[in-house]
């Protein structure tokens, strides 16, 4: 009997395996990169033996949180992007469509504006998380639990616009030019000077969010037949939608609260891997998380390498790569239609 699907399962495993190796290598390269030359191996031994040295401080307190956050950021954005595209059955969807990161940015910006940010270091990410959750709350309050996909997207657009307007208003009213500048720079998205405190604050949310997003691979496969066909296959569509939106709020809200707004990763990564998993939305999830992490690690390496004097912001770089990519995508889709 003919069973070609067995072969594709193997190639899916091979792809995931090789991308995981690439992620590990990229992570080590990221740890190794920096102004001071330190030996990863010797420093790791020092850490294991509990010795403290300058190299340990650099590796453990400065580089490690940065590289780990890059992985968190990339994995969250890639995974949420793949989920959102699967849920909305639209290749142009990205984690931002529901307004989650817009809300996170507004929350964080309000914290900077109010001056709370300087009172304790975690005020900023906490504000961002609060913003992300309020967004989802408002989304469900207005669109309702039984909302259709169209209603959710429209409500998302409205909330996004509102959050952006709020952020602009804060900038507009800001009497302190220094605070305004800080807001503008923070919004651009960066991994610089983040500590383990930041990481441990958002790690539970991000991990839980990613777990929720990884849950519904089969449901997303079924959804490619349309919502009613998926329901007829026994997929509890409202629950799936709720899990994906909550997961996106937790994961993307979490990383945005700490890193600022990094866009286009969630849009690009699923596209790069979709042909490699034979266009299956379910299989795209895991690989998009790994691929997103690799992409952000390298983008951050690039940013660090080319930042001489003024820091080049990570979010600026991803937009610079992402926007032409987006245009190319539209160009390709236009050609397919005609």
């Amino acid at each position: 009997m003919k069973q070609p699907a067995v072969g594709s399962k193997f190639s899916g495993f091979f792809l995931f395996f090789s991308m995981s190796i690439l992620l590990l290598l990229s992570f080590l390269i990221s740890l190794n990169a920096g102004a001071s030359e330190i030996s990863l191996w010797d420093t790791a031994l020092d850490i294991v033996h509990g010795k403290s040295s300058e190299a340990v401080v650099i590796l453990w307190d400065i580089r490690m949180p940065r590289s780990l956050l890059a992985v968190f950021l990339g994995a969250s954005l890639g995974l949420a992007g793949a989920s959102m595209q699967g849920l909305l059955r639209n290749p142009l969807a990205e984690p931002g469509v529901l307004g989650v990161n817009g809300g996170a940015v507004l929350g964080a910006v309000l914290v900077i504006y109010s001056g709370l940010a300087s009172s304790f270091s975690l005020a900023l990410p906490l504000g961002g998380m609060a913003g992300a959750f309020l967004t989802v709350l408002i989304l469900y309050l207005f669109a309702g639990y039984m909302a259709s996909v169209q209603t959710l997207i429209l409500a998302g657009i409205a909330i996004n616009t509102l959050a952006f307007a709020g952020t602009s208003l804060v900038l507009n009213l800001s009497k302190d030019p220094y605070a305004a500048l800080e807001i503008v720079f923070w919004q651009m998205g960066s991994l610089t000077d983040r500590s383990f405190d930041h990481l441990t604050l958002v790690a539970p949310f991000v991990l839980l969010g990613c777990l929720l997003l990884l849950w519904d691979g089969r449901a997303l496969n079924a959804l490619s037949l349309g919502e009613e066909a998926a329901m007829s296959l026994g997929i509890p569509i409202q629950r799936v939608r709720f899990r994906i939106i909550l997961g996106t709020a937790l994961a993307v809200g979490g990383v945005t609260a700490v890193c600022g707004s990094v866009v286009f990763v969630g849009l690009m990564v699923p596209h790069l891997f979709r042909p490699l998993v034979k266009h299956e939305p379910g299989k795209l999830l895991g690989i998009s998380a790994v691929g997103g992490a690799v992409l952000v690690l390298w983008a951050d390496l690039f940013v660090r390498y080319f930042s001489v004097g003024t820091e080049l912001k990570l979010g600026v770089l991803t937009s610079l790569i992402g926007a032409p990519f987006f245009l190319a995508l539209i160009f390709k889709m236009r050609r397919n239609v005609s």
Partner: protein
């Protein structure tokens, strides 16, 4: 013995408007049951109520003697498989992967396709004559091929009853007859099949039993010759028809508006 599905005094309202009223039906397995009637008569609503996409206000629906609302959704998916109207696939999935989706009601969460699943997929594709399309992406297939793959997806579910909403709309006559014949074969092998049709000629030729709906009520039910009588067509659709026999088979051709 009770029929597979029993519908008693069913009322369904959409936006406070009564769409189905006092509907009674007994749907056995092993028959090709056609649901006909003018646009807006409530055919799709009836199907969607059976699939629990819509709530109903009054009456009772029982499947295998169990109240519809008490059936677990996984079990319900094993009872009914649904072929939506003009079904399309969002991503560029291969035909075989689409057919494999039909096995979802039989898999536990995270469970991979088993040997019996591959067998069901293979058999469904063979019966639907789409084995040669197995590795082709859906968006590269012609309309008729796509419809057959979607049919194979439904067939792979090995459900107890197939509910098909206008499965032949938009197909050429060759594929229309092929799909109707496939549905007939499924019924002949003992499964239930209920199909919404607009084509009265196909309905008369292939269905074992017809229900004619109009404005949410069942106007007539029974054999094609009874249901498609001049009086019923006049009242149901406002048309008359030409009738005939060929090889002892009854046929009907919608002819003129009244």
């Amino acid at each position: 013995m009770k029929d597979f599905v029993q519908i008693r005094d069913l009322d369904v309202s959409l936006d406070k408007k009564l769409v189905l009223s006092k509907v009674n039906m007994d749907l056995p397995r092993g028959e090709l049951i056609g649901l006909i009637g003018p646009n807006g008569a409530g055919k799709s609503t009836l199907m969607r109520t059976l699939l629990r996409f819509l709530p109903f206000q009054k009456g009772r629906i029982e499947v295998k003697g169990q109240s519809l609302s008490e059936i677990h959704r996984r079990r319900l998916a094993q009872y009914f498989s649904y072929l939506p109207q003009g079904a399309s696939v969002s991503w560029s999935l291969t035909a075989q992967r689409v057919v494999a989706l039909g096995r979802i009601p039989h898999l536990l969460p995270w469970q991979d396709l088993r040997k019996i699943d591959y067998e069901a997929i293979y058999n469904a594709m063979k019966k639907s004559d789409v084995l040669h399309l197995a590795d082709r992406p859906m968006d590269h297939l012609a309309g008729g091929e796509k419809a057959l793959v979607m049919f194979a997806r439904v067939l792979a579910g090995n459900s107890e009853m197939i509910l098909a909403d206008e499965p032949v709309a938009g197909l050429d006559p060759n594929h229309q007859i092929q799909v109707m014949q496939l549905l007939k074969d499924v019924a002949f092998r003992g499964s239930g099949v209920m199909v919404v049709l607009h084509d009265l000629t196909l309905a008369a030729r292939f269905c074992d039993r017809l229900y004619l709906l109009r404005e949410g009520k069942i106007l007539a039910s029974g054999s094609a010759a009874d249901v498609l009588s001049p009086d019923n067509l006049k009242e149901g659709y406002g048309i008359n028809a030409r009738y005939g026999h060929f090889d002892q088979e009854f046929y009907v051709i919608p002819w003129k508006r009244l």
